[in-house]
């Protein structure tokens, strides 16, 4: 068990194992994404109320779910890097932020596009949407803070603190926005009703959610590999690696 943690902290090992995982996970992810998208777009029946526009659900919901989960991954990595001073956790945390921001962006944009035919407006200040917007700000804040520091080691620590503060705050933000919304207007538009979803729609959705998790993992590993190379550029193993690299 401890030797595994020890290995996890070793950059060359992590770089290599991430490469091995990516070699099969990346193709699987891309195939799963293609299958899921085709299935959802072309092979499912339209929703009886929303018509065909509901097909956006196959990217909207997975993106939103993984964007939220990504924040927790980032926070856990940040905590590990702060508590056990593990440099690779720092790398993981730094690599999470841009992916999370991208996924949050996808969720917001697709949600907005979905809203137009369904609600007749591009944007409503609904609790979920507002808290997703705030989540995007949190991700961008981490990216901005990281870039602002010249000393990257300090940048990692500062971002870890910020992420942990955000972790405490996300439930508060979510709850507050929820109450704020219920204060303003009746819940005329409900995104998550109790309507049981038909299995023919559920399976492609589950496939897409799984693929987005895999996509997040792939991007995370790829970002981490690049980050490891940059940080370890002066070490022998990276030099050897670069020597074998044919441009």
């Amino acid at each position: 068990m401890w030797s595994f943690f020890h290995k996890l902290g070793s950059p060359p090992w992590l770089y290599r194992i991430a490469g091995t995982i990516l070699r099969w996970l990346l193709p699987v992810t891309i195939v799963a994404l293609c299958v899921g998208v085709t299935w959802g777009l072309l092979y499912t029946a339209p929703d009886f109320r929303q018509g065909n526009s509901y097909r956006i659900i196959y990217i909207h919901v997975p993106a939103a779910a993984v964007a939220l989960a990504g924040y927790y991954v980032m926070a856990i990595a940040g905590a590990v890097s702060l508590i056990w001073k593990m440099k690779m956790a720092d790398v993981a945390m730094k690599s999470c932020a841009p992916i999370g921001a991208a996924l949050t962006f996808i969720a917001l944009v697709t949600g907005s596009i979905w809203g137009k035919p369904t609600w007749g407006t591009w944007w409503v200040w609904d609790a979920r949407i507002t808290s997703m917007l705030i989540l995007l700000f949190l991700y961008l804040g981490v990216v901005a803070l990281y870039e602002a520091y010249d000393n990257k080691e300090a940048a990692g620590k500062a971002c870890a603190v910020l992420t942990l503060v955000g972790m405490v705050n996300i439930p508060i933000i979510y709850k507050s926005v929820d109450w704020w919304y219920s204060l303003h207007q009746p819940a005329s538009i409900k995104m998550t009703g109790d309507t049981t979803i038909d299995p023919s729609m559920l399976y492609p959705l589950l496939l897409m959610i799984a693929s987005f998790y895999a996509l997040f993992t792939c991007c995370l590993l790829m970002n981490m590999r690049a980050e490891i190379l940059e940080r370890e550029a002066r070490t022998g193993w990276v030099k050897k690696l670069a020597l074998g690299y044919r441009s």
């Binding site: 777009l41 072309l42 065909n52 097909r55 956006i56 841009p98 996509l215 690049a226 190379l229 940059e230």
Partner: protein
């Protein structure tokens, strides 16, 4: 296949532009987050290998050990 024809799939009873644009934006962003780290990693490796070649050919004394 749910749709009868390609044009039906494209229009989706009037919802086509929304659905397809959402998927297109998603595709672009996903492609970006997949390709950016790949490019970054390649650039780093290329830069490092170029640096090493320069050092080998340049024969700067005292620099090999660094």
């Amino acid at each position: 296949m749910y749709f009868d024809s390609l044009s039906a799939a494209l229009s989706m009873d009037g919802h086509g532009p929304y659905v397809w644009s959402a998927y297109a934006i998603c595709l672009v962003v996903v492609a970006l987050i997949l390709l950016a780290p790949r490019r970054r990693r390649r650039n780093i490796l290329r830069r490092l290998s170029a640096e090493q070649k320069r050092q080998q050919h340049g024969q700067i004394p005292g620099n090999e050990g660094k």
